[in-house]
Subunit: 82 residues, 2 copies
């Protein structure tokens, strides 16, 4: 444990900021150049966007990327700790 070799648990506050900005999923999708399905998947969590998209979302909301995406910890694999 404590290694950075496996995926992190990432949380995001896209839903929160979208509520603050009072825009729809579709509007956010259009503004950041993705489809609504991508926004839905992101808000549902547990998925790992490209760095590029993460920055575009942060730029859109005019927040630091660390405010939008938060590292919650490592996903402990428990098993097969090679």
């Amino acid at each position: 444990m404590g290694s950075l070799r496996s995926k992190l648990v990432l949380e995001n506050r896209i839903h929160v900021f979208r509520a603050i900005h009072k825009i729809t999923q579709q509007q956010l999708a259009d503004a950041t150049g993705v489809t609504r399905a991508t926004i839905v998947a992101l808000e549902k969590g547990n998925y790992n966007p490209s760095l590029d998209l993460a920055f575009r979302l942060a730029l859109y909301f005019q927040v630091d990327i660390n405010e939008l995406f938060i590292v919650k910890g490592e996903r402990d694999e428990h098993l097969h700790e090679n």
Copy 2:
């Protein structure tokens, strides 16, 4: 222009921090759970890692993700500005 709909131009300082830490590509790859080919590609630039990997690299070097990856601007597409 000025839209966030297309990919950003991202620069990274992985090579710099790897030099500071005096580790090899292979060691960085092992520490962050990717292959050396991925590190090579990243250092060569022009490629867009997952947010997860970007955070793992930043955590490894103990720097903010914004110190490791810098948004240089938008990739102006010029053509077909739909």
